[in-house]
Each structure stands twice: as structure tokens, then as C-alpha cells.
Symmetry: C2
Subunit: 596 residues, 2 copies
């Protein structure tokens, strides 16, 4: 049996302090009161709900999965019940604006709740996660009539929402979609086409599902500039808000996947379904982009969730399992020893735990920057949020989601043979985690985004400002205790390498050597993530050192140890990417395609 989930509330709360969230958010009038008095009880409540309602059905969802028969998708009944409780408790809307019925909390707060909910049950969390995207799209770009008609029940969770982008021939490249939207006399459109990879495209948890669908109006420009966005409800909605007739929306099939079995991935068919244009024609992809950062950060969070969850199980297993005599331990002592006393098991657990901390700080900071971008008091503040968020997002999405797979994989190793057996639940974390590097823009696309959109921002000055913030933390560490000075020197070495390589890439791009730059995009993102992790672990070290002196609480001593371990033993992997970043394109293209 899987270890019962216990949310790491204290770690999460510490994360909010590491990224300085209170000071930053309090500068925003809407969040001037944001403090630990909000964060702590929220996380405790969320922990209770997740531990009691969501975690116990995670394995059930994996084993039973969503099933389809005659176009009807059936969820395990425990999920239907849990969804009702989830919606009633208001978890779906905590960070949505209060004027549409949400909790009015900063997005930053949802970092912790999303982490907890997703660790407890990743597949479950995808339904409200996709709803949030649909809500944002309608709220930002829809008409007042559309908002009045669709938002209340989406926000309350009575209905769910979906995002319909991909088609069989259009995955990463949406320019080639063919779903057709024909204007009707009443101002609506008739939507016809097939959409694939639609998460929770069909299910029996709510009475209606509101699909946001990308489609092309006949005569619109070719490629990405001719895409429009439509609201297409599963059942039409009457003027009184009640559910009306079928709208010719059907689920043809669901995918047999490696993981997230309780999240139905649907092939959807729209057969002359009534759709309502969101905003203006041909602006659909722009509207989609406004939600993309938030969604990508959330997908990074899914990697964090799987790593964090698998750590708990692995640590418990390592504390319980009696086996072998650790090197250097007497036979007598070994009688009371479990495998957590083996250096190698320790190394695996330290590796996961240190990365989880670094990933958490990065993700929360990224969300903080979303709040600054969306709700900043002035244009300067908003612009800074947008700039920083722009750089962090591809790293959060790709670096963390890759690590989610790698660390769940390490957790399996801690269990030994039991890790390979499904009943311990750790294998599910690996299988569930594996989707995150793929969807919401593959990690390869994130790397291109970092290289070609983010590195050149403000002529490279945006990047320099981030690196300069890193150096400020290094300077601060150098003024601190000896242990931090030593860490600062190691961090500085890696930051310097990153800075040099960033400049080198910038000059390559200025020279027009774009393919050479693209060849290094993925290792560059990996190096960047590893170094940024060091930056956050440095910040955490300063804070933890201070708080340990104030309180004597060994929790803070442990945080210092984890920072030290990260900076001394994990961060140095960053330099290993240098030569592949600068190697250029030639060797990648030397072989003919057919020779692979």
C-alpha cells in the first residue's frame, strides 16, 4: 500500500518566505494584507482536504481509470464524489478574481495549494486546472453576456471547462488546424472538426462541460494568424442558466496512456456544434497566449508534485526497511538500522529533497511574478513582472517537469524491488509525471522559447537583470557566515559560466547563426535551471541560517544542509552542459535522417 500522504505544509510556508512573497505582494493594493495568516491556514485546510479526500483515491483512479462506452466517459465513482466536495470547498476558485465569484487571492497562493492537490492526486487536479484556463480566457476576452452566461457555474465548479487546440496533424504547430467555424445569421458559428489530446473533454462529474475551441473561419488568413477562439458548450445553455439540448459534441475515443489514467484524454468531434466567438476573429492564438504562462507554470508544478509525493513514500520505506549493514557500522548497531543508514540511500533522498526545495522556490517565484505582471500597481511594476515571468516560465515548465520524471525514478530505486511493484504507488508517480515534459508545449519548445524569445528581451538586458539579482544574493551570502561564503563561491563559479555562455549565445544570434543557437537550446535551459536552483537555494540558505539562529528549530538547520548539498553536489552538474551548448549544429546534422 502507498504511504498516506502528508502535505509538507511547513516546507511550503517556508517557500513563501524564501521568495519574499509578502513584501512583494503587499506592494500591490489588492494584496496589501497578504501574510502568513492567510498562507498557513489555507495550506492546512488544503492539506486536510487533499489528505482525506484526494490522496486515498489516487490509486483507484490509476487502476480503474476513466472508461468509455458508446461515447460516454465514466469516471471512478469516488472521483465523482470527490469532485463535488472539491467544488463545494471552493478550491477551484481560490485564486480567481472576487468579482466573478473567486476567492480573490493572489496566484502565488495557488502555488502551494496546487502543489498539495496535485501531489495527492495529479489526474484529479487536471479537471479544475483546465477549467481555470477556460475561465481566464472567457474572463479576459469574452463579452459581458458570455461572462454572465458561462462564468458563474464554471467558477463554482458546477461545470468544468476544457481547452481544444491540437488536431491530429497539428500538435506543436497550431498553424495547420482545419476545424471550421462557419458564421450563422444569429451571430453564432457552426463548429466542425476533430480535436485531439483534450484533457477531461468528456466525463460524468458535472452536468455540463464548456469547451474552448480553436477553429478557422472560412476566408481567414493562413497559419497562426487566422485562428479564432470559440466557446462550445457540451449542452446548450438556456437563458436562465439551465442546461439545454445536446450540441453535437461527442467524444469518439480516449487514449490508453502510460499514466494519469483518471484523466480522460479525449478525441473530440464537433459536428456542426454551436460556438460563440470569443473576442474578435483571428485573435484566438493571442488569447491563448495570455493564459499560457500560467498553464506552463502549473505543468512545472506537476513535476514538483510527483517528486514531492514520491519522496514521502521513499523516505518512509527507507526508514522502515531493514536490510544489510551500512559501510562502517558495527554488526550490533546494524541490528537497529534500516536502509536509510546507507550512504547511497541517503544520497538518493537528499537529491530528491534538495531538488524539490529548489523547484518549489522557482515555481512560487514564477507565480509571484505572474501576480506582479497582472496586478502590479504601475506599468513599471507590471513590465518587470512580465519580463521576469517571461524568463522563468520556460525554465519552470521544462526544468521542473524533467526533474519530476528523474526524481520519481530515483524514488523507485530507493524502494528496490518494491518500487517496481505497482502497489507501493511510487511507480504511479513516475508514470503520471511523464506527461509533464510533453504537454503545454514540449520541453524542446520551452528551450526554444527561452533562447529565441526570452534571451533577446530588451536586447538581453532582461537576462542581465536576472543574473544581476543572482549576483546580489551571492554578495549577500559572502557577508554571511563562513559556510555561506563557501557556498557563495561555488554558486558564483557556475553563474559566471552561465553568464559567459549567455553572452556567447547572444552574439551568435546577433551574427544570425540561429541554427547553431537552436542546437544548444535544450542544454542551455538545463544549465539555466540548475543555476537558478542554486540561486533560490542560496536565498533559502540565508533565510534558514537567520531563522535557525533566532529559533533553534532544526527544520531551518535542515534547510541550510539541503542548500549546501544542492550547491556543492548538484549544482556542479550545470557546467557539464557547457560544451554541448556551444558545440553548434554541425554534428547534429552530420548523419542522414535515414541512418538513425
Amino acid at each position: 500500500m502507498a504511504v498516506p500522504y502528508k502535505a509538507p505544509v511547513k516546507d511550503i510556508v517556508f517557500g513563501y518566505e524564501v521568495i519574499d512573497s509578502y513584501n512583494v505582494l503587499n506592494k500591490i493594493s489588492a494584496f496589501s494584507d497578504f501574510s502568513e495568516d492567510i498562507v498557513i491556514p489555507t495550506m492546512e485546510e488544503c492539506a486536510k482536504f487533499s489528505e482525506e479526500v484526494l490522496a486515498p483515491i489516487n490509486a483507484i483512479g490509476d487502476q480503474q481509470g476513466a472508461t468509455i462506452k458508446d461515447g460516454v466517459v465514466t469516471m471512478p465513482e469516488e472521483f465523482v464524489d470527490a469532485y463535488q466536495k472539491f467544488a463545494e470547498a471552493g478550491w477551484a476558485s481560490i485564486s480567481l478574481p472576487s468579482d466573478i465569484g473567486g476567492g480573490g487571492m493572489p496566484i502565488t497562493l495557488s502555488g502551494g495549494t496546487l502543489e498539495i492537490l496535485s501531489t495527492a492526486n495529479l489526474a484529479f487536479g487536471l479537471a479544475p486546472g483546465l477549467s481555470a484556463g477556460a475561465i481566464s480566457a472567457i474572463n479576459f476576452h469574452g463579452s459581458q453576456e458570455q461572462k454572465d452566461k458561462f462564468l458563474p457555474k464554471l467558477v463554482s465548479g458546477e461545470w468544468t471547462g476544457t481547452m481544444n487546440l491540437s488536431e491530429p496533424q497539428s500538435g506543436s504547430d497550431l498553424g495547420t488546424i482545419t476545424t471550421k467555424a462557419e458564421p450563422q445569421e444569429d451571430g453564432s458559428y457552426k463548429i466542425t472538426g476533430t480535436k485531439v489530446w483534450i484533457t477531461f473533454g468528456e466525463h460524468n462529474m458535472t452536468e455540463n462541460i464548456i469547451h474552448l475551441v480553436l477553429a478557422k473561419v472560412p476566408g481567414s488568413p493562413e497559419g497562426t494568424k487566422g485562428i479564432s477562439m470559440f466557446i462550445v458548450p457540451k449542452y446548450t445553455v438556456n437563458d436562465d442558466g439551465s442546461v439545454g439540448d445536446s450540441n453535437n459534441v461527442s467524444c469518439i475515443s480516449i487514449e490508453e496512456k502510460l499514466g494519469i489514467h483518471a484523466s480522460p484524454t479525449c478525441v473530440m468531434e464537433y459536428d456542426g456544434s454551436v460556438g460563440y466567438l470569443v473576442g474578435e476573429e483571428n485573435r484566438g492564438l493571442n488569447y491563448m497566449f495570455t493564459m499560457m504562462n500560467e498553464a506552463r507554470v502549473w505543468v512545472g508544478g506537476q513535476g514538483l508534485a510527483c517528486a514531492s509525493g514520491s519522496l514521502q513514500g521513499a523516505a518512509q520505506y527507507a526508514r522502515d526497511r531493514v536490510q544489510g549493514r551500512p559501510v562502517g557500522m558495527s554488526k550490533e548497531d546494524a541490528k537497529n538500522s534500516t536502509i536509510i543508514d546507507h550512504a547511497d540511500v541517503r544520497r538518493m533522498l537528499m537529491t530528491i529533497k534538495a531538488y524539490v526545495d529548489a523547484m518549489r522556490y522557482l515555481m512560487y517565484d514564477n507565480q509571484l511574478m505572474l501576480d506582479v505582471e497582472y496586478f502590479g500597481e504601475d506599468e513599471e511594476m507590471k513590465a518587470f513582472g512580465e519580463e521576469r515571468c517571461g524568463i522563468l516560465t520556460p525554465i519552470t515548465k521544462a526544468w521542473i517537469s524533467d526533474l519530476g520524471v528523474e526524481l520519481s525514478n530515483i524514488a523507485i530505486q530507493v524502494y528496490g524491488g518494491m518500487g517496481y511493484v505497482e502497489e507501493t504507488g511510487v511507480a504511479q508517480y513516475l508514470r503520471d509525471a511523464r506527461i509533464a515534459p510533453i504537454y503545454e508545449g514540449t520541453n524542446g519548445i520551452q528551450a526554444l522559447d527561452l533562447m529565441f524569445r526570452k534571451l533577446p528581451l530588451d536586447n538581453g538586458q532582461a537576462m542581465q537583470r536576472l543574473l544581476s539579482d543572482v549576483n546580489k544574493v551571492i554578495d549577500e551570502m559572502k557577508q554571511d557566515d563562513e559556510e555561506l561564503v563557501s557556498m557563495a563561491e561555488k554558486l558564483e563559479k557556475e553563474v559566471n559560466t552561465l553568464s559567459e555562455i549567455t553572452l556567447w549565445l547572444g552574439s551568435k544570434m546577433l551574427e544570425g547563426e540561429l541554427v547553431d543557437a537552436s542546437a544548444g537550446a535544450t542544454p542551455y535551459l538545463k544549465m539555466f535551471g540548475q543555476v537558478l536552483g542554486g540561486y533560490y537555494m542560496g536565498k533559502a540558505a540565508i533565510l534558514a541560517n537567520k531563522k535557525f539562529k533566532e529559533t533553534g528549530d532544526e527544520f531551518y538547520k535542515d534547510k541550510l544542509t539541503l542548500s549546501k548539498f544542492y550547491i556543492e553536489q548538484l549544482l556542479p552538474l550545470a557546467s557539464g552542459y557547457a560544451s554541448s551548448i556551444t558545440a553548434g549544429k554541425d554534428d547534429l546534422y552530420a548523419m542522414k535522417a535515414e541512418n538513425f
Copy 2:
């Protein structure tokens, strides 16, 4: 659907030349004729069989799996048929000694056949693989009577064999087993106990199963020195070799696993079963060790197989899938472009393919050293084989099996969303590959073996001899073309780091700082593997360069490119492990166990 498997025969044959197998084996009288005239047709035959019989049922095995009902384990019927064909074709016995009915071929030859068979169907290959272990044990350590009774039908494949080591409380540490072996008046023993993780412990592919069981004779010494080995047939064997009565051996349950679903992992119960002592009492673990190197190399080969198989599918998908415009390509050109033209996809494919080559050379060389150890003409030759094999084996097992997981994981990414869908078969490679780092001694145990048994061999001289062989290749590269000189310099840098760290570890151990050394064991093995990979890729580069000049065949040009890519872009990851190897134990043990 999965891409039909096509065995990489030319790559495999090239591998035999890279490791200089013909020159080495021809010095052994039994293999004086060993040449490409044996290797090429063998691999071609094996490819044909694997492509036609085993690969097509790989997905069936995954989906249906082995099932159990009332103690009867049923295989998919396609597996029962395939096993008959496999045994009849003689693949089970190709590298077994001819005096017991085997093919009399060197173990080295089975490197290629095992790779092909395992890529086609990993789960299937585990049955004959375990049989081979049982055959070796009986052949090396059994009495003539036992050999006459059990070997013919094991060698012919009419029966299969198993290895029964683990018990619920005894996994990595066999010193604590409790299965009892009570001597009977007729010279046999009565075996009673429960064994776990027994691969193909029960199935319906053959009429009998011969279990090799570790058990304790009452009154024997405590711990590993009191373990004996027994032959325990599922059904007793009559004097004429026919199958007799049930022997009270039963399968209680099989595990629900992440992968290798068509390989039943059994909990076996021996309830007063008749067992025959192999060799002498209390020597069981020693006998087991004689087969361990071979088995561990084979498990490394499983990682190679999954990486190689997943590469084929990913490359084909990348050649077929039209999506997006590669950086720097005109819109017009992009119309005929598939995702293999994207630098990032190229990087993923190059990474898998280069590692697969390096892994292949390492595994084949390790098997070559097994032949030298077992069949060497004189003691000096045998001693060299034993020494080199000792060092290579933990690296082959751990480095390759870890990479098997990592590279299958990368292959999934090449497929994008289709990689997460089971029907493409690539997810199965990841799930199947995940067992290899765990069984046959976890990779953590391999790292301890390398550090504490192999590094000190002959006072460190054995390690120096290996490093000196690496340096000889570097010298040879420096005498070659400019491209190889440049590669040599990069390889030298990493070898020097490895040498320094090896010396540092040696001195730590001399100082008795064993826990500090153990703390660095896993990163040391990873660094060692990465550098050894560079050594083999260097050897391959010399050979490929020469053959390309002789033949103009672009296959060799590609091999040169792959070596260059490995040495310039993958090998530098090695240095990233340095600081974690030398960091010592303190940070690993700073946190209390309950705080993880």
C-alpha cells in the same frame, strides 16, 4: 502501432571489431576460428528469428501479461508457441559448452544475440536467461549424476531453470534467509520456505521447471557462510529422465509490476520439497557468485536493448511526423520537412544513438573478458580476464541499466504526445527498462562493489592498468587525423580527472575513511561509466576513420560522428560528478532520518 523491429546487425558486427574480439579470442584454442564468418550469419539468423517471432508478440505480452489462477500461471499462448520455436532453433544454448549439448560459442557471441533477442522481447528473454544461470550452476558445481539428470533438457530448452535467492526479509542481504533444508536418509534434503522475486518461477511453457534454491541446513553457520544451494525440480525427475510426481513446489502469487508483464515474478512456496545439494554444504553463495558476473552483464544488456529498441521507433517517428518549421529553414523547404529536421529532435536521437554505441562496446568487451577469464590459455591470461571483468561488470550493470531508463525516456519525448500513448510501444520500453537498475544487485550495490572490491584490486594496480589502456588509446588517437587529435584532448581531460579522483578515493580508503568513500560510490560509478564510454568511442573512432578511408562507406563516417558527439557533448558530463564524489559523508547524514 509499434514500428516493426529491425535488428542493427551492422552496428553489432562493428562492435565486435571495436573491442578487437577476433584477435583476443583467436588466442584461445577453443575459439581460434572465431571470426566474422561466425558473427555475421549468427546475427542475421538471430535478427530474422527475433523480428519475425519475438518482436510481434512483445506488445501482446505487455497487455495480457502472465496471469495466475489457483496457483497456475498462464502465459499468453503466443509465448508458449514462440518458446517452442526458440528452443528448437537452439538460441538458448548457443554459448553453452558443447560437451553438455551447447553451441560451444564464446560468451562474447551471445552479447549480440542477447541484445537482439532482448530488444525484440525483453520479458520473453528472461526465461532462457534464468535457465542459463541454472545450467551454469549445475555444470560448474553439480555432480555428474545431477548433470546427467538435469542438464540435457535444460540445455535443449525442454525445461527452464530459475534462481531462488530472495526472501521477504532478505533482498540485497542474503545473510538473513530462513528457508530450511533438512537432510534426509537418502542423501536428499527436505526444502521448506518462501522465496520472492522469482522470475519465471512458474509458467506453462515447459513440462518441468528446475529451481535452484538457496537454503540453510540446520546447524550451519550464521549469515552468508551458512547458505547452501539445492536443485529443486517442480516435478521430480524419473531415472529415465521423464517427469514424475509433484514436488510440493507452488506459486502463491505473482507481482503486479510496472513492466515486463510477460515475465511472471513469483512468490514461491517450498513445502517439504525434495532438494538435491549442489556441491558442498554452506558453499551456496560462492557458487552463486561464479554466475553473478555473467548475469550482471546480461542485465546491463537489457538496458542497452531497451535504449536501442526505443531509438528505432523514435527515429522512425521523427522521420514521419510533419510538424512545425525548424529554426533557419525556409517555409518552402519546411513543407517537405519532418521533425527530425529540428535541432532538438536531432540532439535527442544523437544522444540515444551515441550512448547505445558506447554501451554496446562496453558490454561486448565485458563479455570478451568473461571468455578470457573462463577459457584463457594460461593462468596469466585468465587472471587478466578476471581482473578486467571485475572492474567492468559493476559499470556495465549499473551505468548501462541507468541509461536504459534515461534513454527510453528521451525516446518518449521524441514522440511527443504519442510517446505517452501505449500503442506506440515506446512507453513499454521505459517500463520494461526500469527493472534493470534494481535486480541482480541494485545499482547502489554495484557502486559499492566498484569502490570497495574493485578499486583496491591488486593494491589499485588493476585500476591503473585499465586507465593505462585508456591512455594508450588516447595516444593512438593523437597520432591520427586532426579530428581525432581534438577528440583525444577532450578525452584526456576527463580521464585525468577520473585518475585523480581514483587516487583520492584510494587514499581515503587507506586512511580508513570508508564511509566517506561509500558516500561517493554512486557518482564515482557514473563518472567512470561516462569516461569508459569515451574510451570505447575513441577506439571506435580510430577504427571507423580507418574503415571509412578504406571503403568510403558512410556507415563508418556516421560512427566517427557519433564518437565525436559523445566525446565532445556527452563525456563532459563526467566532471560534473567530481564534487559529489569527494564531498564525503557529512551532508548526507546531517539530517535526522525522520526529517526527510
